[in-house]
Amino acid sequence: MTPGLLGGVALLATLVLSLVGLVLAGLSWWAQDRRYLEAARRVAPVAFLSALVSFGALEWALLTHDFSVRYVALHHSVKDPLWVTLVTPWAALEGSILLWGTLQAMYTWLVSRRVQVQGSATTGRTLLLDPWRAPVALGVLFATQVFFFAVMVFVAHPFDAVPNPPADGRGTNPLLQNHWMMAVHPVLMYLGFVGLSVPFAYAVAAMVARRYQSWIFETRWWTLVAWGFLTAAIFAGKWWSYEILGWGGYWAWDPVENASIIPWLLATAFLHTTQVQERRGMFKPWNFAYITLAFAATVFGTFLTRSGVVQSVHAFGDGPVGSLFLAFLLGVLALGLGLLSKVSGEVRDAGEVRWRTREGALLAGSLLFGTMAFVVVIGTVWPLVVEALSGAKVSIGAPFFNQVSAPLGVAALLLMGVGPVLPWRNTGGEIRRNLVVLGVALAAGTAAGLLLGLTLGVALAVGLFVYNLAAVALMVGQGVRERSRALGVSRGRAFLELASSSRRRFGSHVVHVGFALAALTIAFSQTYRFEESKTLRLGESWRTAGVEMTLRNVGVEDQGNRQSVYARVEVRGVDRRGLWADGTYTTRLNFYPQMGNQGLHAPDLKYTLYNDYYLILQAFDTERGQWATLRLVVTPLVLWLWVAGAVMALGTLYILWPSPAPQRQQAPGGAPA
């Protein structure tokens, strides 16, 4: 038994099992027979196991340096460190589809555990999928699985053999070896992408079974899980890009970055509009549309990058895979939107929405996120449209996206603060005081920023941050005061009790604070980034941006799979701006044999509470090591961007964390969620 054989067999078995699951789910739908459903439910864990075996076989092939497998020969080398070997399955096309498919099988299995079967107790805690919708939901998930495994079996086979196995492979793409984030970011991204397939499957089932309301409650957890993973993945990607790509930035509006933000934007819109449906039973058709578009958007990015239609640092080359993903994308859209157009006449929501209410703010917010998603899609594909229509080549990049996203971001931040303060249905005079407080916070923050000499945009970002903090403080403070008065407990205790009993509210406050902080750091780091480059001779000093840098040493180290050229620089802060920059920085250029003379930057950076000092080795004296060209990038508040990402992820986790014990149903002081 070789890894290639085992993997190939397991792959085929997963495809067959997924097909069987799909057929059984279909039969149980057509024949309305629960025995088929029961069988389909049992296929899911077996298919997952089989997918795991094929994934394990790829790891096995990599770990045992089995170069008779083409994937291993092309993307692995005996010199690769162990952790790089372990993450190589998602370093290239075939393996990343295998990871995607395996995660899909996992989600299908998890959903299959929610299917209501005869004899399963209907506890209030777990929401079970009734037998009218379960076949459809499982069918959609199995069909997705069939797609991924069929792509692998017929087009992008991860276990294709090489007739004459080489003694050593080409090794993993050096760009991917440079940072441990490679082990984290792609997996988080796929967990988020695949996670959106679950609410989509539930939505399709809801439309087919004509039960338009309950799926919103049942998929709340799933949507939040997927959203949390997407958020974490996007921040992890920013961090990776910042630490490794050697340009001192974290977001470049590269087509693939755009493709990852589109599902996030649509999922965010969906997450907010579902609350309107939960609370008021409205907006049902929009929720069907949003989740369909969000799931389709996860496939869109793969189509863009795997088809070679756009240029991107993330592109994995071209081939027939791209067009298959396009077909799948169109299939998803046709299914979701087709069903929606069929049932929309029947979904007759009723009710009046006033704008100055919670639901008004939620709907307006979803408009902003939807608009942003639209802009990113248009901005990403428009160069193709222009070329098709006029033959001219144009570029649409960061300057465009930064300019158009700023006003939308400001509007979203404004709504984010005031929305949760507004009551549902009808706003009376009682919140006037709160609105005044918020207005004052916004004005005071902005004015303080202007007085400190910040640009208008950054001052406004400061104002919006203070305003959002004030909104959260108002809401929490009010709840705590009411509860401590009503129950006669201390304020601290009232706070803790509220925080643990209404996790959803508190978690969302935390996520909102994280988002406001992220916006603040983006405003600062985009506006006040400073960057300069200079050649220093050994011992020479360079004074700029509040620091003095002295080049101490230039040398090279043999690190096995690469040659690492380094420059050692002593940095000393010379005025208040350069505070905390002190230290010895070792910035590197790594040369990998498979990349020729193109070096990869391994910058050295120091995070401080305000500025980040980022030193890049641009060029060096190859003959005598007498000089080095250094590039200094000083960016404020980037550390806080990672803090913001962590806060958003932890807030999501807080909402999702299962409650330890049943709590009293909303004790006094807890305003309606």
Binding site: T371, P399, S533, P672
Partner: protein, 155 residues
């Protein structure tokens, strides 16, 4: 150390790297700012400021040179447009076909807002006037506090 550098020199020669004896020119923040708006023509979606490829370095050198000659930012951008075509600019011109991209936020917002307006008009028309007063609804809501949370066991 010496040995290491010798090794490096050999490595450099083996890779046919052009010997780099003259260091690249010093670059001011202004250079990077201008380079940021220009595409690196050989890269995969990186700007001339971010990329470390030879072409991007050459572009930054050209920008520094022209700044030293006293050329304005617009003139420098024009220089690159003449060389590579409008494709080199990351900010699409606000005219012709790319004007639509600049209008896309307004178009997107207008389409969605129109859809929402239509939808809300329809739901309002369908809404039956409640026979309970707003005060009663408010009182009931205050008593109920929140919609049933299906994840929570009832006490």
């Amino acid at each position: 150390m010496r040995l290491a550098l010798l090794l490096l020199t050999l490595l450099g020669l083996a890779l046919a790297q052009p010997p780099q004896t003259t260091p690249p020119p010093d670059l001011s923040p202004e250079v990077f700012r201008i380079a940021k708006g220009l595409r690196c023509p050989v890269c995969q979606g990186e700007s001339a400021s971010e990329s470390n490829s030879g072409v991007a370095q050459e572009m930054r050198r050209l920008i520094a040179e022209q700044l030293a000659q006293g050329k304005s930012e617009a003139e420098i951008r024009q220089f690159f447009v003449e060389r590579y075509g409008p494709w080199i600019l990351y900010e699409p011109p606000k005219q012709g076909l790319t004007l639509w991209v600049w209008l896309s936020p307004l178009i997107g917002l207008a389409l969605l807002a129109y859809g929402l307006w239509r939808y809300l008009a329809a739901t309002r028309a369908r809404a039956v006037p409640a026979d309970v007063s707003e005060e009663e609804i408010a009182r009931l809501e205050a008593e109920l506090h929140q919609p049933p949370d299906p994840h929570r066991r009832t006490p």
